[in-house]
C-alpha cells in the first residue's frame, strides 16, 4: 500500500527521508515532464489553475506506478487549494483508479494533523521515532534551501555559465542520498564550499525579487525555471518564499502567535488591508517593501488565480514604485515568449540603473 504525494520543488526529498525513517512504503511521482502537464490538463476542468493540473498529473503518474494512498493538501478559507482534493478525487475515480485520499490540513491542525497522519501510515510507530524522522526531514529541507540561496547569489556572477547549476544538481542528489546527520552535514558544507570557490566575474548583478503564488514560485517546471533564466541574464534573484521557512512558521511558530508575515502585511495595509486568500496580500506587501531596495520584481501567478489577480490590479497603484513584471503561468506558457519578456525587462532595469548613475554623476 504505497503512499504518494504531489511534487513541488524539492519537497519530495524531506518526505522521502521521513517515510524511509519510519519504514513507510512510498512511491514518489516521477519528475515533472511535459507528460505530467498533458495528463493533468487533459483530465482537469479547463478553467483551473496550473497547480491543480500539475498536481493531478503527479497523482496520475504515481497511481500508474502502483501508489494507492494519496497525501494531498486540504483545508478551508484559503483559495481553490482547499477544494482541490475533492475534485481530484472525483476525477481520479472517474478515470477508474481506486485509492485512498488523505487530506493534510494546511489551514488548521497543521502540526498535530500531519503527525497523526504519519503515525497512522507508519502503523503506530513510537512517537520518539516519528519525531526523530520528522526532524531529519526538516534538516534536509533546511539544507536544500540553504544551498539554493547560495546558488541564487553565485549564478549571475559565475565566470563559466552553468557551473552553479551543476553543483546544485550534485548537491540535491547528495542531500537526497544522505543517510544521517553526518552525511547531510558533509554534503551541505561540501557544496557550499564548492559554490564559494566558483570563479566569478566582476559584474555587479541586478537584484530582482521573486514573489507571487506559492506553487508557481517554488516549482521550476511550472514557471519554466524563471530563476535560472534570470541568472543566465546576470540577475541575482531574491525570494522570501522557501519551503523550509514556510514549514518552520506554519507548523511551529504560528501556533505560538509569531507571524512572520506581519511586516509584509503591514506594508500592504494602505492598499490592501485584509487577507484575500492565497498569497495576494503578501505579493502587494512585497512590492511595497522591496521598492527602492531591489531593481525590479518578477511576479509569478497561475492563470485565473483569484488572489493574484486582485494583487495584480492593486500593485500598479501603490505609491512606492518599482518595475514589476507579471508572468502568468499555465500550460500555454512558452519559453521563447517568456525569454523575450525577461530580456526586455532586464534591459529596462539596466537602463534605469544607468540613468540613475548618470544623474548621480551630474549632481
Amino acid at each position: 500500500m504505497p503512499v504518494t504525494m504531489p511534487r513541488m520543488g524539492n519537497i519530495h526529498i524531506p518526505f522521502k527521508a521521513l517515510f524511509e525513517g519510519l519504514g513507510i512504503d512510498y512511491i514518489m511521482p516521477p519528475p515533472n515532464t511535459q507528460r505530467t502537464m498533458t495528463l493533468g490538463t487533459k483530465h482537469s476542468p479547463e478553467g483551473l489553475c496550473i497547480p491543480f493540473k500539475m498536481t493531478l498529473g503527479n497523482l496520475i503518474e504515481a497511481l500508474e506506478l502502483g501508489a494507492d494512498k494519496l497525501l494531498v493538501p486540504g483545508g478551508y478559507g484559503i483559495c481553490r487549494l482547499g477544494y482541490y482534493f475533492k475534485t481530484q478525487a472525483q476525477i481520479l475515480q472517474d478515470i477508474g483508479y481506486s485509492f485512498e485520499m488523505i487530506p493534510v490540513g494546511v489551514s488548521e491542525r497543521k502540526f498535530l494533523g500531519i503527525m497523526e497522519i504519519v503515525r497512522r501510515l507508519s502503523n503506530n510507530a513510537p512517537w520518539a521515532k516519528i519525531v526523530s524522522s520528522f526532524r531529519f526531514g526538516i534538516a534536509k529541507m533546511n539544507a536544500l534551501d540553504n544551498v539554493e540561496r547560495k546558488v541564487h547569489r553565485v549564478r549571475p556572477v559565475e565566470a563559466v555559465r552553468g557551473t552553479a547549476n551543476r553543483i546544485y544538481a550534485r548537491a540535491v542528489a547528495a542531500i537526497d542520498r544522505a543517510p544521517d546527520y553526518r552525511g547531510l552535514k558533509t554534503a551541505v558544507s561540501g557544496s557550499l564550499a564548492e559554490l564559494d570557490g566558483v570563479a566569478r566575474n566582476e559584474a555587479r548583478p541586478m537584484v530582482v525579487g521573486i514573489t507571487g503564488e506559492f506553487y508557481v514560485v517554488l516549482e521550476p517546471f511550472s514557471n519554466l525555471d524563471v530563476e535560472n533564466e534570470l541568472g543566465k541574464l546576470g540577475v541575482e534573484v531574491r525570494r522570501s518564499t522557501f519551503i523550509s521557512e514556510w514549514m518552520k512558521f506554519s507548523l511551529f511558530l504560528n501556533p505560538l502567535g509569531i507571524n512572520e508575515k506581519k511586516r509584509v502585511q503591514r506594508a500592504a495595509a494602505p492598499y490592501l488591508n485584509r487577507d484575500i486568500g492565497g498569497d495576494g496580500w503578501e505579493s502587494v506587501g512585497e512590492k511595497v517593501l522591496h521598492a527602492g531596495k531591489y531593481d525590479g520584481i518578477v511576479h509569478l501567478a497561475p492563470f485565473t488565480c483569484m488572489p493574484e489577480i486582485i494583487a495584480q490590479n492593486i500593485m500598479p497603484h501603490t505609491e512606492e514604485q518599482i518595475p514589476v513584471l507579471t508572468i502568468l503561468c499555465d500550460e500555454q506558457l512558452a519559453k521563447p515568449g517568456m525569454l523575450t519578456r525577461l530580456e526586455a525587462f532586464v534591459d529596462l532595469l539596466e537602463r534605469k540603473r544607468r540613468v540613475a548613475a548618470g544623474t548621480a554623476k551630474a549632481n
Binding site: 478553467g47 478551508y76 492598499y271 490592501l272 495576494g280 486582485i310 490590479n313 492593486i314 502568468l328
Partner: protein, 333 residues
C-alpha cells in the same frame, strides 16, 4: 440628504432590499446604477488587468457610473456567512481594489461580514457602519432589524412565488401586484433550471438575456433563488457534502436539488476565469453525468462572447430537451 450609491452588480441581486431598507432607515437616500450596458462594461474593464472576471469588470463600471451621483458607495466585504465556509478572493478584495483602481470614486462604505469571528463582532461592525449616518444607537438597531426582516421576506417571497430577483423587487418597491403563489408547473411545460450566480443570470447584458430567451422559447425557468435555504442545502449535501464556498449552494446546491426534483434540463452559466465556478460547475456536471437522467448545458461567457454562438447552442440544447421529453412522456403531449 446623504446619498448612498449601490452598484447594480455582484451581490446587488441577493441583498439589495436589505441594504435599501437599512440605509433608508438611517435617513439616507439610496441611488442605484442603471442596468449593465456596453459602456459600463468597457469602462470598468479598462481599469483592470484582462484576466479579471466579467462580473468584477461590470461592477467597476457601475461604480464609475455612480461616482458623480452619490456621497458614498457601499461595497461590503462578504468573507463568510457560514462557519468554515469562505468566499472567493474577488469578493474579499473588491473594496480595496475599487478604492485603488477608481480613485475618483466617493468614499467607500465598507463592512466586513465574517460570521466566524462571532456575532458580537458582526453587530459591532453594523453599528459602526450606522454611526456614519446617525448618533442614535436605537435608530441603527431599528434600521438593522427592519433590514433583516426585509431580507427574510424577500427570500421567502422569491421561493414561494418562483420569481427572479428583478421581478420580486418590482413587487416590493414599485407596488406591482404580487402574483399568486406559483402552482406546480404542468408537465406539458418544459422545465429548465438555470443555475449560476445571480449577478450573472439576472444581468440581462452579461447573460445575453438568457432568461428571456428561455421563456420566449416556452420554458418555465427555475433559478437558485426560487429555492429555500433548506432545499439548497439538501442539494449541496447530496452532491458534495460540506460546502467550501460561500455561494456554492447557488451552483452545486441548486443543480443537485433540481437534478433530484426532475427538471427537463439544466443550464449552468459561468463567467470565464471564475475560480470557484471552475470547480463547482465541474462538480455539478459530474453529478449530472453520474445520474444520467438530465441533460446539462454549460455556458461560459466573457466580454467576447458572441450572441449568435450562444443562441445556436441554446437552440440545439432545447431541441434535444424537447425531443427527449416527447419520447419519454407520451401521456403529456
Amino acid at each position: 440628504m446623504v446619498k448612498v450609491g449601490i452598484p447594480r452588480a455582484m451581490l446587488y441581486y441577493q441583498y439589495y432590499p436589505m441594504w435599501q431598507s437599512f440605509f433608508r432607515g438611517l435617513g439616507a437616500e439610496v441611488v442605484v446604477s442603471g442596468e449593465t450596458n456596453h459602456t459600463i462594461l468597457v469602462k470598468g474593464a479598462a481599469r483592470v488587468v484582462p484576466d479579471t472576471c466579467l462580473p468584477v469588470k461590470a461592477f467597476l463600471g457601475h461604480v464609475i457610473a455612480l461616482a458623480a451621483k452619490c456621497d458614498y458607495i457601499f461595497i461590503p466585504t462578504v468573507r463568510s456567512i457560514q462557519p468554515k465556509v469562505y468566499n472567493c478572493s474577488k469578493f474579499l478584495g473588491l473594496t480595496d481594489m475599487t478604492r485603488m483602481v477608481i480613485p475618483e470614486s466617493p468614499p467607500i462604505l465598507d463592512i466586513e461580514i465574517d460570521l466566524n469571528r462571532g456575532q458580537r463582532r458582526l453587530y459591532r461592525d453594523i453599528y459602526r457602519l450606522g454611526q456614519r449616518f446617525t448618533a442614535n444607537p436605537f435608530k441603527i438597531k431599528r434600521a438593522a432589524l427592519a433590514a433583516w426582516e426585509t431580507h427574510c421576506l424577500y427570500r421567502q417571497l422569491m421561493a414561494e412565488h418562483r420569481q427572479t430577483p428583478a421581478e420580486m423587487m418590482a413587487v416590493l418597491f414599485d407596488g406591482e401586484k404580487a402574483p399568486s403563489p406559483a402552482p406546480e408547473p404542468a408537465c406539458a411545460r418544459t422545465l429548465i433550471a438555470l443555475v449560476g450566480h445571480p449577478y450573472l443570470t439576472n444581468d440581462r447584458y452579461l447573460s445575453h438575456r438568457l432568461l428571456e430567451r428561455l421563456r420566449a422559447a416556452g420554458c418555465t425557468v427555475l433559478t437558485p433563488e426560487m429555492l429555500t435555504g433548506a432545499q439548497l442545502k439538501q442539494g449541496l449535501e447530496e452532491s458534495i457534502g460540506q460546502g467550501y464556498w460561500t455561494y456554492e449552494d447557488e451552483v452545486v446546491g441548486a443543480a443537485g436539488y433540481y437534478l433530484q426534483s426532475g427538471v427537463d434540463g439544466i443550464i449552468s452559466l459561468q463567467a470565464f476565469g471564475c475560480g470557484p465556478d471552475s470547480l463547482m460547475t465541474d462538480t455539478a456536471q459530474r453529478q449530472a453525468k453520474k445520474l444520467g437522467t438530465t441533460p446539462f448545458l454549460s455556458l461560459v461567457v466573457d466580454e467576447h462572447t458572441a450572441e449568435s454562438g450562444l443562441v445556436t447552442r441554446l437552440e440545439a440544447f432545447l431541441d434535444m430537451v424537447h425531443i427527449r421529453k416527447r419520447e419519454r412522456q407520451p401521456l403529456c403531449r
